[in-house]
């Protein structure tokens, strides 16, 4: 990866990281979107789209409300795209198996990666205290400066989370690469089945949270109507 590509990926990471909480919340932070953006920058759009599909639904129903912090699926998706780009020369032989391995690794790391978000929010408490002190001195400027300083804190949190995921995932991949041929020989991977497992679990996690009447009827109807349409078409 060139320096320019690293710079562009860092920009994507910061912008999508800010979109999670600090700025606008336009869904740029959703894995499907930010993975594609990172993939476009790195010239691997289709694998990035695949990674986006795999991660998008997993924590969709962990709503960004109040003090709730969902696992950092934004940086996990970008991290997975970076790892695919970094290890691309070694991936050709077992491409889909490695993508599955990478996504599992970043999914585990995303759970830990949310610590950076917690850290940023605690750091912002200091900014708030400073703003209060400033207002006691009737300094309006201190209020504004400390508020917008929060953007810098959230940006750092996004970058640290990405760094953590790329470093952790890279180490796991470097270690796991040696055992991959043995694993694939033992369990020959039917790619489309394995790739479908991720959105499949995502759908299950959505159904767990969506408490609506007649869920089973609606779901099964949607399933069979689409299935028949796909068979006909």
């Amino acid at each position: 990866m060139s320096t320019g590509q690293w710079g562009m990926v860092a920009l994507v990471s910061i912008l999508s990281g800010l979109d999670r909480t600090a700025l606008a919340q336009t869904l740029v932070s959703r894995p499907l979107v930010c993975a594609c953006a990172a993939g476009y920058v790195l010239g691997i759009f289709m694998p990035a789209l695949q990674i986006g599909i795999m991660i998008e639904l997993l924590w969709l129903m962990r709503l960004p409300v109040g003090a709730t912090i969902a696992p950092d699926d934004t940086q996990a998706a970008i991290g997975a795209v970076i790892l695919v780009k970094l290890f691309l020369p070694q991936l050709t032989e077992h491409f889909y198996a490695m993508i599955v391995f990478i996504v599992v690794a970043v999914v585990v790391l995303a759970e830990v990666g949310k610590c950076w978000d917690v850290w940023a929010r605690h750091l912002n408490e200091r900014l708030f205290s400073r703003a209060i002190k400033g207002l006691e001195r009737s300094s309006i400027r201190s209020l504004v400066v400390n508020h917008y300083a929060g953007l810098a804190v959230f940006s750092c949190s996004a970058l640290l989370s990405l760094l953590f995921i790329v470093a952790g995932g890279g180490a796991a991949l470097w270690f796991g690469m040696k055992y991959m041929p043995t694993l694939v020989a033992l369990f020959p991977v039917h790619e489309q089945w394995l790739l479908a497992v991720f959105p499949f679990v995502g759908i299950a996690s959505i159904l767990v949270v969506l408490q609506v009447k007649h869920t089973v009827t609606l779901f099964v109807s949607g399933f069979y109507v689409t299935y028949m349409l796909l068979e006909v078409l």
Binding site: T21, Q25, T26, L27, V28, R30, L32, C36, L49, G52, I53, E56, L60, V65, G66, A67, V107, E111, R121, H122, N124, E125, L127, A131, I132, L135, S138, V144, N146, H147, Y148, A149, G150, F187, P188, Q192, W193, L194, V197, F198, P199, F200, V201, I203, A204, L207, V208, L210, V212, H214, L218, F219, V220, S221, G222, F223, Y224, V225, T226, E231
Partner: protein, 254 residues
Amino acid sequence: MDKNPQGDLTKWQLVRLSLRCLFLQSSWNYRQFQGLGWSVTLLPSLTLLYGKKRVAQVLRGHLKYFNTNTFFAPAVAAATLSLEAEKSRGEQVTIEPSSYPDVVMAPVAAVGDALFWGGLRPLFSVLAVGLAVYGHWWAPVLMLALFNIPAGIFRVAGVWLGYHHGASVVLLIQRWKLADIAVALKRCTVVVAGGLCAALVHQTQLDLVWSVVSGAIALIVLFLTVIFLRKGVPLTVVLIGLIVSVTAVDKLLL
């Protein structure tokens, strides 16, 4: 910035208020949640209404715990400023402007979160994944557009309605029956999720008999996964378990 002698905000100032609301959570913290962002959002308009000398004193009333839905925040901010404008003109106000957000933030957050985070986001997300599964590169762009059009309308129209209806804007929001719309969207999400599940199974491109059998198996496995997740098994454990099961079945039976 000098005090506005008419004690009124112009269209342009309302648009700027709406833009400042995009930064409402920039300093989100565990002590006051959106409190600091809330006071900074109101600051330029309050300076216009009260003048530089009095604004610090007025702001002290607003710098406290605040937490609401970000898409409905512009309406609440504009309604608060409408009350502040009335107060700055010396008119009688129905509720203290600094107390108004305390009263409305929770119900507005409940409606907004249900509509945007519980209704629109899952629906468009599942739809986009369904399209992306078939390799449509524009699926993420569609998701962004579908979500941000209503979000943008609420952000811009919210400021306008909030300022002109004042404190009664919450009654207007209540009349729109957004909670019912959110429930309808959730039902649509369940149907679309069923469709996505069918698309995932159909992609395996097996022959007709196997295709029907795998469809039935997929539904059974899905409902078992739902049961596991409901029992509190961590998502990562379920995910890894399912991957191992699929590879084992693939190796042993197919």
